[in-house]
Subunit: 328 residues, 2 copies
């Protein structure tokens, strides 16, 4: 029997999960849950109902794993513990500083419900975290680097959109090649915020707005831009639509370390992602971990887990025997 | 109490394990076992005994994890099952085609002894395998690529050394940049053996040997060189010593895949290693998995495992709480 997946929240991430389920023969989409009026939400999978979030509890025995596709600011801190009492759940909670608190809440709820909850799944947190852990365990004496981009930062794009005189905007985070090269050359550089990334903004102005003032406001914005070298381009609404409607992202996790009796040998471990669609890639990771949650539950496990706690084999549809034969 | 490690076999790999133990505060080297006369083997760690392999069984209660540092051709198929009856064991068995058989043998022996055996640990098999598995689970529709190098191939160097007229030699395996670039550009190329790697040989001739004949013999050697573009350089013994005494290696694992309802978005996952010392890096992976074997055994587990079966958190000396706080 297939693993029955529910999608809770049908934005970019939810739509990505729907696509990813289609690529996995051992899974099927059971239902989509939305805060909107279900009658107004059209999904791509034929014959699958769209329901109100309020009715999700009725699906308790018809869904194995609920994938929570809401935001980390307000949705997930509430939803993940709530639904972990009813379903095995996966979320992409990405507020790094609040992970310990979220973990504790989900763990208590999941144990209460006898369910498995896997939190902070995606690529950062997620695959990047895994690579930091593996690399640190292998090379205890070394230095970590994470670079993001080139890609669209939703938070920074939103910040630019809030600037008076800005009609619409997209912001790209770009890693600095010279910094990446220094790391790859084993120079173990100490890098400031400004040395690691630049920021590039494509801005559509409101009629009559003063470009010089808008540019100044963006570039000096504390936390978001003041510590970076930022470039601002003013473009037309049509150009923004045509050239900047995608949601690409990616990045690099590197660890440079030493081995040998006197640390005489250097090593570089590098993991990188180049993603056309940030939400669809994140969704694909969520779906792989949904399989893991289901399998852990079949073993009678319950409680909260992160990517650190899941043996890789649980993610694959292949058997252990097949994996050893084909991928080891 | 520290995890007490034994090293069985004191060649490049065994010496690397000794160095790696020194970098991990929760471990200590208990003893080194050698086939040679122990009196003639000098190790670097003060106060640690060198013993005969035949006496290893006497250490049953004084060693937690035995790291087997022999070769895959004849040592490990025999030693890993043998010692898995007495100790938790880790090996770097790398004959890909024989892994299923080795797994079965170690599994039976380890279960008999109530021990944990983790086989095929290192970087390929090992970290490269893990990256293949993760990437395949995340992107079910895609294509895998593995490139090796630039690095010294021990097997190919040995093959060159067996050519009549060759006094000594080192062979480097080199990935072809154009092929790597095609993969990174998402072209999903079908690559022949010749298109993926080139081979470069540095050869010291015996006195009076015919360079043209040696070069021809190397370049046309079936399996080893005939399917590759091979370059042969003749150098002096001094130059070989001065310039080619290291054992660097590395490589790239890439997966290029599609997501979206109609596969409209492309993604690239890339993992790469640049290693000054192949055996020391492999040893560092072995030691991290020794920690995992010890912890699994503390949970009462036994039997054979591979890197696919081990949750990443088991590799780290940090607690789950610490990991979530600092690396997720």
């Amino acid at each position: 029997m297939n693993i029955r997946i529910g999608i809770l929240g049908y934005g970019n991430l939810g739509r990505g999960v729907e696509c990813a389920i289609k690529q996995n023969a051992d899974m099927e989409l059971a239902a989509v849950f939305t805060r909107r009026d279900p009658a107004g939400v059209k999904i791509q999978t034929e014959g699958v109902p769209v329901c109100r979030i309020e009715d999700a509890a009725e699906w308790k025995d018809k869904i194995d794993v609920m994938i929570l596709c809401g935001g980390s600011a307000t949705d997930l801190p509430e939803q993940t513990p709530q639904f972990a009492r009813l379903f095995h759940v996966i979320d992409s909670f990405d507020t790094h500083a609040r992970i310990p608190e979220h973990y504790a809440n989900v763990d208590a709820a999941a144990k209460e419900g006898g369910k498995v909850g896997i939190i902070s799944v995606g690529w950062d947190p997620g695959m990047f975290s895994l690579n930091r852990l593996y690399a640190n365990a292998i090379l205890p004496e070394g230095k970590d680097y994470t670079f993001w981009g080139k890609g669209v930062s939703q938070g920074h794009s939103d910040a630019v959109r809030r600037v008076p005189g800005v009609k619409d905007a997209k912001q790209y985070t770009i890693p600095v090649d010279a910094a990446l090269d220094a790391v790859r050359n084993g120079e173990n550089p100490e890098l400031t915020t400004r040395q690691k990334h630049t920021r590039e903004c494509f801005v559509v102005l409101e009629e009559g707005a003063d470009p010089a003032k808008v540019e100044e406001t963006i570039k000096t914005m504390p936390n978001y831009f003041a510590d970076y070298d930022t470039t601002v381009h003013f473009i037309s609404e049509e150009e923004l639509q045509a050239e900047h409607s995608g949601i690409p992202h990616g990045g690099f996790v590197l660890r440079s370390g030493k081995t040998g009796w006197d640390g005489e040998h250097s090593h570089l471990i590098e993991y990188s992602l180049k993603l056309d669609s940030n939400p669809e890639f994140t969704s694909s990771v969520l779906v792989a971990y949904a399989r893991a949650a289901y399998r852990l539950s079949q073993e009678g496990q319950s409680g909260c887990r992160t990517v650190f706690d899941i043996a890789p084999a649980y993610l694959s549809a292949k058997s252990g025997e097949e994996l050893r034969k084909t991928m080891l």
